[in-house]
């Protein structure tokens, strides 16, 4: 039993842990892409908005969209073999809860850096809510700008809001899956990546 205890401690040391993380990274190019198909992964801590988004996304007729839902990364190892190649990873952050942002940040560690070249997108809900502290939105903005990813704002309560969010996700997804002739995900991300206004640290007038 004591050996098990020692092994446990060893397991928790940095070296072994980093190997463990690296093995469970979500990699962009380790599988073959699907023909005339696009795979999107929606990561959301609350698991609410992703369902309505998924329903709207699969209604697209021009191309077959496969939607996978997750609460956080790393993804369970059991599905590793059957899971197809993911073209776009969307982190859905609900601004009214701090847990949502922290969960997204923690999930980022399990993402291969190859994804950050245009295959990651941040989607933020409830940005208009009065109870949201401005620092959280600023923190999300800074994160998206540091990773050169697009930041989308969505409204999840009305069906119209879901439709608009779906449309925008689909346009980014089509580029990531290679379905748009002259554009690649990297090129699109250089055009759509989030930027932080220079006066973000100054207090806004309320």
């Amino acid at each position: 039993m004591s050996r098990g205890f020692v092994y446990n401690i060893l397991f928790r040391t940095g070296i072994v842990l980093s190997v463990y993380i690296r093995m469970s990274l979500l990699k962009p190019f380790s599988k073959l892409p699907g023909l005339n198909a696009a795979n999107i992964l929606l990561v959301e801590c609350e698991e609410q908005f992703q369902k309505s988004l998924a329903d709207a996304l699969v209604e697209e007729t021009a191309v077959t969209v496969y939607v996978r839902l997750a609460k956080s990364l790393p993804l369970p190892k059991e599905n590793e073999e059957s899971r197809p190649r993911i073209d776009l990873v969307v982190f859905i952050i609900n601004l009214t809860s701090e847990l949502s942002f922290q969960s997204a940040e923690a999930s980022l560690k399990y993402l291969d850096p190859g994804y950050l070249l245009g295959k990651v997108c941040f989607m933020v809900t409830n940005a208009r809510n009065a109870s949201v502290p401005t620092e959280r939105l600023d923190a999300v903005r800074k994160l998206a700008a540091a990773l050169h990813c697009p930041l989308l704002f969505a409204e999840d309560q009305t069906p119209d809001g879901v439709t608009y969010a779906t449309k925008r996700l689909l346009s980014i997804l089509k580029v990531s899956a290679g379905l748009v002739p002259m554009a690649t995900a990297l090129y699109l991300s250089s055009l759509t990546s989030c930027t932080v206004p220079p006066d973000i640290d100054q207090p806004s007038f309320d």
């Binding site: 990699k27 962009p28 190019f29 380790s30 599988k31 073959l32 892409p33 023909l35 005339n36 190859g114 070249l117 899956a177 290679g178 379905l179 748009v180 002739p181 002259m182 690649t184 995900a185 990297l186 090129y187 250089s190």
Partner: protein
């Protein structure tokens, strides 16, 4: 991560699909498979390109600070956009040339549609020359309109000048007139005052004389008339 292996098997997969269009029997129509396959081919080439980019990035690893990279990034993006625009324009030009070449070939050879094409071409030429004529006419008319407008503007300017002159003259004349009038009025009034005082004084004197003589002026009609007129004038101040 072994994208080069993936690329090889990708090519095999695309070839397999190309050799067995029957495998794509999920699309029932006969003419959609080629376009679908072209689209899929494009998609695969896009994916291959992305993987090649990843390989390239993996190969040339040099250490540089993030601030340096951030500085260089916009420059590269601008360059990339410039090259893309150039490429797009060149592709458009190429397509145009291809179209024209195809049309030329069709018209020259005696294909089934070439008679209709020639007729269409002639009609286009006729319409184009008509268009040119109309454009020329409209240009001439526009020039004429501009000339008329210029003349009108000139007229307006002259009118404004003349009006200004008239206003100046009018104001000058009125000023002179009122001044002279005022002077004359004052002089007249002075004279009036003077003669009025004279009159009043004369009447007083006459009244005094009549009273001093103790004559009964009411009986004599001429004297009575004179005395009546004396009383009409009020006493002077």
């Amino acid at each position: 991560m072994d994208p080069s292996d993936g690329k090889g098997s990708l090519n095999l997969m695309v070839e397999a699909v190309a050799l067995n269009p029957a495998a794509d029997s999920s699309n029932a129509q006969k003419d959609t498979p080629p376009t679908d396959m072209l689209r899929m081919n494009q998609q695969m080439s896009n994916q291959c390109f992305e993987m090649a980019v990843q390989l390239q990035a993996g190969k040339s690893k040099r250490s540089c600070s993030t601030s340096e990279a951030e500085r260089d990034l916009p420059v590269y993006v601008k360059e990339l956009e410039g090259v893309k625009t150039l490429n797009f324009n060149s592709t458009l030009t190429l397509h145009r040339m291809q179209m024209w070449h195809a049309i030329g070939e069709t018209v020259k050879g005696n294909y089934s549609g070439s008679v209709a094409l020639k007729a269409g071409n002639d009609r286009c030429m006729a319409l184009c020359s008509q268009i040119k004529q109309c454009q020329q006419e409209s240009k001439d008319l526009q020039d004429e309109v501009t000339e008329v407008l210029k003349k009108r503007l000139e007229m307006k300017r002259l009118i404004d000048e003349k009006m200004k002159e008239m206003e100046d003259l009018k104001s000058k004349k009125e000023d002179g007139f009122t001044e002279k009038y005022k002077a004359a009025m004052e002089k007249g009034q002075e004279n009036l005052e003077k003669y009025r005082k004279l009159g009043v004084m004369t009447q007083n004197v006459l009244r005094g004389i009549i009273l001093a003589c103790r004559v009964n002026w009411m009986e004599d009609p001429t004297l009575r008339d004179i005395a009546m007129t004396l009383e009409d004038l009020p006493f002077s101040d």
